[in-house]
Symmetry: C2
Subunit: 176 residues, 2 copies
């Protein structure tokens, strides 16, 4: 797995545009665990899932399914493309929604933050999916021009499920 996925790097706030308001969470550097295709990150319940790759003369096929890489049954998907490199997406947490992010082409970076720990994940391979549970603040940035980011989500769109204010996010996390 190591050589195929982008390993999370220690978070460096200087690299982030000012609009990312996640600077209050302390930084913690820690070695993550690898267990049967799932690599837990230091941020609570966030994990990288290894996905199967089948290569043959007819091209490459990557697959994820319930029980093999895909951690929940999706009811919604969205695909993000054509993001200018200086733009940031995401910048919110969810109350209940679970998400699974796979960068199918190109690369982008995801910063995940549980209110105590923060980590940046470079997604640059369709062989790994990033699981983001509820109550994790997530920000996407550093998109390459050709990036195609697939997000599978556990529920239909619900505006009330979004937490868009970082202070509110911290209140909810502390109450947990």
């Amino acid at each position: 797995l190591a050589h195929r996925i982008g390993w999370p790097r220690r978070f460096d706030r200087k690299e982030l545009p000012d609009m990312i308001k996640t600077s209050r969470a302390p930084r913690i550097r820690s070695r993550a665990l690898i267990d049967r295709g799932v690599r837990k990150l230091v941020v609570k319940d966030v994990a990288l899932h290894q996905l199967a790759l089948v290569r043959d003369v007819r091209g490459n096929l990557r697959v994820g399914e319930i029980g093999k890489g895909l951690p929940f049954v999706p009811r919604r998907y969205f695909v993000i493309t054509d993001v200018p490199n200086d733009k940031v997406r995401g910048e919110h947490a969810h109350r209940k929604l679970r998400q699974f992010l796979v960068c199918l082409r190109g690369r982008c970076s995801i910063v995940v933050d549980d209110g105590k720990r923060r980590e940046e994940v470079v997604l640059d391979s369709a062989d790994a999916g990033l699981y983001v549970p509820p109550l994790v603040w997530a920000v996407q940035y550093k998109y390459s021009a050709d990036a195609v980011l697939l997000v599978l989500a556990s529920a239909e769109y619900d505006a009330a499920d979004y937490i868009r204010d970082y202070d509110e996010f911290m209140r909810l996390v502390r109450r947990r």
Copy 2:
């Protein structure tokens, strides 16, 4: 929808490599129906579903969810890339599996065949998803070099669900 998706063209067997053994089904040319974002094809229960596109300065987002474009709850997904242009994929039907195909980048063609009618669909936009129900023979070909084909499937992999022999497919279709 018309200008955004590749409209199915009448099937022309001469364009297909010899390996496609679907020549027995009669050709029927017919106008398809368009109804609320869903365009039914002439092949039984096959349909093109329009997907929402959200454009803003942070890039483009395409979305499908249960009740809005996505016709079933997926339990498996796979992504096909790097297909040499002369190669053909698919060439089978399923007994029970439902599939939803979206070409996220580049283009490819899907031939669908219900044993009576056949149609070729050019997928060249992430704004449309092709719903392929059980007992429809499907073949994918004419991949562009940059094509990224996402397939959402209604169940986990099951080798017994595949019908790989066209004669067996025709027997099952006639019995239906």
